[in-house]
Subunit: 361 residues, 2 copies
């Protein structure tokens, strides 16, 4: 059935993917928080519909292009969870005229341009930096936050909706305890900011994104909304963080075998940096993915793990124990569990459903 | 004029790019070797035509998809310089029926499928490993090479054209002397292999690819053909290898400024791992690109270099000295010299010509 796979493509185990979605929907429901999944991971209209079938109607994305694509597919409530790019005012206005659009402010310097350029009512959120140090206000900077809120009042089209944080530093943790600690500290600081402005903005929410926290915690206490994305597929990084079990990983990259180097017992696959990205894990040396054997509609690990050890533009190179090496031929298809499914999905952007044998987007 | 640039796009300085092409054409001519530029770097039909206007008619690419795209644009002599992917036999046959197609063999295990599947005359080259350890035969493995050549004789559609090497390990060098050494050793070994089979294959050529060698050397002695690709743009890695001068770098990524983090004097740009790739240089810490100021149709370095220090999916983060920090506003456009132009070009695939102000592909 896999004969029609000729090039690197993202192979999805639909049952696992649907289960990952179902579990997170259920978890949010049980915890009493809103669920706004981040679609930057899969960027797929089909997988988007799997969410919608489960009652999800609010999403986050990381660019106006993604927002436009999903809006065209019927999504009506989209947060662009990336500091607003003023150069895309035209796309912003187009979207804000059609759907409930949320934008992210992390720098008051954007307000003058929004004042002159914005043409429709737009929700906005303030980005808070809970330790990831990427963008946003430090929660202690109450003056800065107040100043932004006050300036924004001059623009009647801007409606403040709440505070947004992404605890990307959970990706550097080594234990559940550390994730707990990041969550407790971060959510505590968010709560403090929310309470500080509660008199004036009683409906402002606190929204939290990152797959390790959302996977490992069951209660979200003071949060109003969660925004995980990666959980839809998980990946090798999440597995090694213990943020998922092996059986929750729902996507592998199809990798055609093109050459065997007998003297080094290395196999060369057509799956390189342009497919997997150069994100790596340190596991006795850099690892760019774990190689799996494809069965009819599934995949299975080699008894002793086989990793992608080196990458160049289109080449992936894996060292194989002799007993597997001898079973692999050029023209075969292997699977690679990517280190970081978001980057791999963005790079390849073409899916194959292992259950139905159909390509999809 | 740059108002129409709203998102990350590859900005090309056409004059520098045309000069890079002209110089390499001239160098090959002076050295008396054939020139088969590798188009995997730019993958652009327009830039391809810039080569054609200078009399180039043979090219290398790294996939059948690229070969198909360039064949449709009139290219008639294309080597797919990547171990042949047997799963794409249909694309291979289509191309072989239309143009002079060259494929790469680095594993005799592909011959049975080529015997049954190939439908048109196809040139083939044997991949030799001159120290890069990616794919191909070790030059000492004369028995292996002979055995492949003998087996290939059973397929009248396969025509042997020569030996191909890619000295990718020049990218790890630190001096011109080391590049010289890799070239001398590698080309010497190639010559030995060629001579060994010269009685039976007097027309077999030796083809060599890698930008540092082709940039730094002027004489290619025993080679018949050079296949550099990166030189069309160069990049930060080539600059730090001293394989190019600063003024030869012909492409920067346009990066919209989306946020400033005043406390850390950091600027956040919309240009992340999905645009730049995670390739990095170690220059007092990892560097994912050098930031430049855009002038009307050019760019200029900051007096003290500013680097992209951290990356996530769409975010690039750069630390700025105070005096530049205060001049940068959200909505501004910065340029980023990528660490590795091939990966950045593959990821973004959309060009803007700084000279004409036009987008192109």
């Amino acid at each position: 059935m896999m004969d029609k796979i000729t090039m690197p493509v993202l192979m999805v185990d639909e049952d696992k993917c649907q289960r990952n979605i179902r579990n997170m929907v259920q978890k949010a429901e049980n915890a009493g928080v809103d669920f706004r999944p981040h679609f930057k991971t899969h960027q797929s209209l089909t997988i988007g519909r799997w969410f919608r079938e489960k009652g999800v109607y609010k999403i986050a994305v990381s660019s106006f292009s993604m927002a436009t694509r999903f809006a065209k597919d019927g999504w009506k409530d989209i947060m662009v969870a990336f500091p607003v790019n003023l150069r895309e005012m035209s796309a912003l206005n187009q979207l804000a005229g059609e759907i409930k659009l949320g934008i992210l402010l992390s720098d008051p310097g954007v307000l003058p341009t929004l004042k002159t350029g914005l043409m429709h009512k737009t929700d906005f959120y303030i980005k808070l930096d809970v330790g990831n140090h990427r963008s946003g206000f430090i929660p202690d900077d109450l003056d800065g936050i107040k100043s932004l809120l006050d300036q924004a009042k001059n623009n009647p089209l801007l409606k403040f909706r709440g505070f947004v944080a992404h605890a990307g530093h959970t990706y550097q943790t080594r234990s559940l305890n550390e994730v707990h600690k990041i969550f407790r500290e971060g959510s505590g600081r968010l709560e403090y900011v929310k309470n500080t402005f509660a008199a004036e903005y009683p409906d402002a929410i606190v929204s939290w994104g990152d797959t390790p926290t959302c996977s490992l915690m069951d209660e979200f206490e003071t949060l109003d909304e969660i925004r995980p994305g990666n959980f839809v597929f998980y990946d090798l990084m999440q597995y090694h963080l213990a943020s998922c079990d092996w059986d929750q990983i729902a996507m592998v990259l199809a990798a055609p075998v093109v050459s065997r180097q007998n003297a080094r017992k290395e196999v060369v696959v057509y799956s390189g940096a342009v497919h997997l990205s150069k994100d790596y894990l340190e596991l006795d040396g850099p690892v760019f993915g774990e190689v799996v054997r494809l069965t009819e509609k599934q995949w299975e690990r080699f008894p002793e793990p086989v990793y992608v050890n080196r990458l160049s533009q289109e080449h992936g190179i894996l060292k194989c124990p002799d007993e597997y090496f001898d079973t692999i031929m050029p023209g075969d298809l292997l699977g690679i569990i990517p280190v970081h499914s978001c980057l791999t999905a963005d790079a390849v952007q073409k899916y194959y459903n292992l259950k139905t044998g159909e390509f999809f987007q």
